[in-house]
Subunit: 308 residues, 4 copies
């Protein structure tokens, strides 16, 4: 790569700042609706421990659905393939919060990244334990992955999610009606809303994603999951990580990624880097507008596609 | 890779022969229904021109939907991104021959690998030309890719497809009703049925797939499409190549692939190899039962996953 | 009824003429698109042979889907309950030309009044006979019912329907793919397009509908179907006669009816009268805008609801 | 009618007792699962105050969804046509507990007799009042209609419904997510579960249904709703009263009816009679197996079809 990575990131940040259309900030809770849409950050963590950033990379944001990657890693670590009896591995082909397919397929969500599937994953790690305990474990997992203890759950956001959580409550009761929920709907949803309220900086998110880079392990950070799980989570991120925009992301960017309604995206270049982008404005598919563009440019500039 | 590739292929072929459940041969036309389900072949073509095979790699079979990769390459070469105004790039999330989503989305098929999308692609390369002419061009494209002129279209199969083609005729009329077909439904379907009747050996298919390996070009064969198109077709194969089993294939195999109802699968290990497998028995998703298992074993043995 | 029927009809015709919003004329074929939307007619045929009319009751129009009532009567007469193995009796709950439910339910259309169901009915009366023969029989049935031989099929309309018939051709091929079509799709569709091109005046339609009045038979006209079939066709008209507006029509009018895209509606007041209305402009559900209003007013003025 | 009504009822009861297939008793709550499937009752209340019964007409049963007729009458009485901004009037065309169509149509249930629609109706009569108060009012309405104060709500059944109410809770949260619920989901559902736990005898149900007979008012009982509302509720019962079996019931019986999962059906012969049947075993559509047959025989024997 002739152009230094830092130069690429700086150039991307400059270009993003100049774009007039920054998408629409999520409006369903005030905590997200009030975020300034003019923010942008990108961070790349390399296997050797280096991190390059550009933009507002030290500003905390709500990672929302990006947290599903961490809860899935935890659930797979605990339950292994048993988890797949409760949730599928196929793209949903429908908007992310749909109950349609769930009904058609007997209460088995299509994949762990649509909301219904993520509720099942959270329900699985909750098991019979206390939410507080399980959330503590999830937080420690993320902190270990990022090697940074200054990551937390925002209680205001969690409470606001709960107050506007009818759709997820509907999904949880629906899963319960199909016998696919072990805990009370309010308990599983409460835990899920807290998980989504995880807050960190773009730099921290890039660091926290390193356990998914795979390849020869770096001595810099502990191996949190098996190489096999790394590959499988990346596969799921590629096919299902962007709701009904997953195919388009794979086509344009060519790397596994998971987006959140807070405007963050975690992207993995297998064997090469963990990438985090953040910009609060969303596109029509509910994924960060500038974030998607930025990683597309990064992938083009670095040639980091997994597709040849 | 400590174990030689040829040994890996031989071992896989031996294991496949020993498996009692070989899936169900497609039964909708007699030409497919009469194929012996006990056949199996695997072939790996490397960038340096080497080909390794095991099993019945010199037996011709009907590549059926694998042909959609070649017609898409041809269409993208001719029309570029214009093609995407007529067909989407998202996984379908529904059985491959469904009209459901097509109706919901105004006659724009979800992706070029479901039947409706493939009809649009064929309609696009047909343009205003004669079917015979266009089929000749497609055949020459495949022959060039395989560097082998002994590849042909089986007229018996094409005629049988036509006689049992009501579902595709329905799709074509439906596309026409939405203004998304340039040629008469019978013309586009006729061309499509001939395209699906392409016949070649497993070795030939592996050779024909080399143009999708990407990476530094080999002097062995001409570059048929741009590096960018290579990456994009691989991305589409990964997210949409196995109908409603695409997510599972990505999860288990970790490589882009396109299956056909004749039991063939073309799989690409970007930068490394073009792989073809063939075994006529299909699994519940309509993809080759042994073929899927075989490439899963090959990916594990070689470590050729694109996901780390 | 204190107010004479003729006065009621005259008053309704006057009110309809004064309404500014006359709906949208069907635009998919030029023969319908060119009809003057300012036309309106209403006719009531009583069991004793009397007919009262108001408006343009002597103008011919294309009865389109109203013809489904006559083809169903013919099919039931010939095949009896056997017909119900090929078509259901439930409201569709979806726009009239949808393929959705058809796919979901294995090629059995929900009822004989949605297009797919009407194609099955036409296919059933076609049996193995020539279209010309069967259309002749259908025409004679309608002429007998109206006791008027001056009713005909408009060949221009039939040909135009054929030229714009991709959606029905798609349905027919789809039915064929499910083994629910006895004749070639083009043959069944061709017959169906001619059936829909039946042309008559509003007065003639009211007369033709008398065989569905039921109750003590009038000596005025021959009994064309059994009393049991009369009741059953009326039940189907009530639950399914207005596509996805059937519930609303039952709620507002309280009488069985069948609408056509040409703006005609045949309405039955069981034991009392056969009513025809016609006005070419359609409402959002694809039923005559003024026609629906007019029969609602007629039902209110006469107290002819079947619901008490 | 040459045969006396009492003789018809006795004959029907005898025939029903002899039928071997009595359907499947609802199993989702123990209170319904434990009911003896060999019970059958029929009762006909005439406008002149006479009641004829046969079978176990003095045994109380859980009227379940038949209660939706009474809550709808109450809601229409209070809110009039305003109610229709929150719920539609079209048949659902889908199994009764489906969320599918609800999602598709922005949280507006198709009609007041599917569960989602009934929840909206209950939510509407609940308004901002206490559930206890509103349930008292509903109970008094039913008691007035039956002119019998010995009708009550079974608390055991209500509690059991609540314990197994995940699907209705999902619907309620879903309605809330679409802004179509005024009260907390648990409150509306709790009220609804109590309403469904209304318990009465078949004789009492026939008496309670007399307010829907319409026609010239009987001095025997007070007019509870307007003649217009009578007709409209009957229309809704005919098109939507038996979930996805409504068309079939209209075709076979030819009278408006509303069934409940407890095996009861209230059927109205407009201008003639209020009919109640009860037998706990259900058919594939979830309606009383023997009850449906019995009213079909009654309609045939009496000629009470509304369709001529």
């Amino acid at each position: 790569m002739p152009v230094p990575l830092q130069d690429i990131l700086d150039r991307i940040a400059t270009q993003m700042a100049a774009l007039p259309d920054k998408g629409q900030v999520a409006a369903y809770i005030p905590e997200l609706a009030q975020v300034d849409p003019n923010q942008f950050a990108i961070a790349v963590a390399l296997p050797d421990g280096q991190v390059h950033t550009a933009g507002d990379a030290e500003t905390r944001f709500s990672i929302q659905s990006v947290s599903k990657v961490f809860s899935l890693a935890l659930a797979l670590g605990r339950q292994g393939d048993q988890l797949w009896s409760r949730v599928g591995r196929e793209p949903s082909g429908l908007p992310f919060n749909s109950i349609l397919q769930l009904e058609h397929e007997g209460g088995i969500p299509r994949n762990p990244f649509i909301n219904a599937g993520a509720l099942v994953v959270t329900d699985a790690i909750l098991d019979r334990n206390q939410p507080r305990e399980v959330l503590g474990e999830l937080l420690r997992f993320v902190q270990s992955a990022a090697e940074d203890s200054d990551i937390r759950i925002n209680e205001h956001v969690a409470r606001s999610e709960t107050a506007h959580g009818d759709r997820n409550m509907a999904l949880a009761h629906f899963l319960a009606a199909h016998g696919n929920l072990q805990n009370a709907p309010a308990l599983t949803c409460g835990t899920y809303f807290h998980q989504c309220a995880l807050e960190m900086t773009t730099r921290q998110l890039a660091l926290a994603g390193r356990f998914l880079i795979g390849g020869p392990t770096s001595p810099q950070f502990p191996q949190l999951i098996s190489p096999n799980s790394v590959r499988r989570i990346n596969a799921l991120m590629l096919t299902c990580g962007h709701y009904d925009g997953s195919g388009d992301f794979a086509y344009r960017v060519g790397l596994p990624g998971k987006s959140g309604v807070g405007g963050g995206i975690l992207v993995i270049a297998p064997g090469r880097a963990s990438i985090a982008v953040w910009s609060p404005g969303l596109n029509a598919q509910g994924n960060s507008q500038l974030g998607t563009l930025a990683v597309e440019q990064l992938a083009t500039a670095t040639g980091w596609s997994i597709f040849g």
